[in-house]
């Protein structure tokens, strides 16, 4: 019985000692971390380009620009459609007609 109690005491002391040692190790790590010098930012590694000094760029597709005359006609068409929609609303005012969709490419 005495031997059993003694073994139990040693086991408890051992567990306590290991817990203290673990706690101390964790504390010292967290104290040290703010003092650590900041690591320099590592630039993203560019993909290797063999036999070429040119920068690899994604091809830029220029937006298709319609001639100004076409754009003006599109605006005119849009205004006419909007006026027609507004006229419909004024003839029979309703929520649905107020926000009715037209076929104008500016709103579709």
């Amino acid at each position: 019985m005495d031997m059993l109690l003694m073994d139990l005491c040693f086991a408890v002391i051992g567990v306590v000692f290991v817990a203290f040692a673990f706690g101390a190790a964790m504390r010292s790590e967290s104290w040290n971390s703010p003092a650590q010098p900041e690591l320099p930012l590592v630039k993203a590694i560019a993909p290797a380009r063999f036999f070429s000094n040119r920068q690899a760029t994604t091809p830029v597709v220029p937006p298709v620009q319609v001639p100004i005359e076409v754009l003006l006609l599109q605006i005119e068409n849009h205004v006419r459609l909007e006026q027609a929609a507004a006229e419909s609303f004024l003839a029979f005012p309703s929520q649905a007609l107020l926000h009715s969709k037209t076929t104008s490419p500016f709103v579709n």
Partner: protein
């Protein structure tokens, strides 16, 4: 030709009003008035169409953008009777030449003073024209606003 501005007037009154004006031929593409011009004459469209435009910046260029078109019988340039008497749009004849009757403001006001009943009818007709424009553009503004809000909150 019936003119919206002269609705309800007797034939004699219509003749009296039309006599105050001058007939003008506006060749295709020619300006009737420009934005900001002094508005001293009101126009009744007799023939052809008058396009009303406003300047807008398009690709770093100023372009006249379509706002409205007026047909025979309709009134153009009611700014001539509304202070500060400046045109708030530009007016141009469309693809075909147009014919208008230009009514000077001073002559009209004198006629109204001498013929209050006819003046009242013309003023009422003018209110209908202005009111319709207001309601139309109020509706168009709200539709555009609704789309702007939808795009921004998407």
């Amino acid at each position: 030709m019936t003119h919206e501005l002269l609705n309800g007037l007797s034939p004699v009154e219509i003749e009296q009003v039309l006599k105050l004006g001058t007939r003008l031929i506006v060749p295709s593409g020619v300006s009737l008035f420009r934005l900001g011009d002094p508005a001293d004459r009101l126009f009744l469209t007799e023939r052809g169409r008058i396009k009303l435009t406003l300047p807008m910046q398009l690709r770093c260029r100023e372009e006249d953008v379509f706002v409205e078109e007026r047909s025979p019988g309709q009134t153009v340039g009611w700014s001539a009777l509304i202070p500060p008497y400046r045109f708030t749009l530009a007016a141009t004849a469309t693809l075909f030449e147009a014919e208008v009757i230009a009514l000077p403001r001073e002559a009209l006001l004198q006629y109204f003073a001498a013929n209050p009943a006819a003046g009242y009818k013309i003023a009422s007709n003018l209110a209908v024209v202005i009111g319709h424009r207001l309601q139309l553009f109020q509706t168009m503004w709200l539709r555009e606003m609704q789309r702007t809000v939808e795009v921004r909150s998407a």
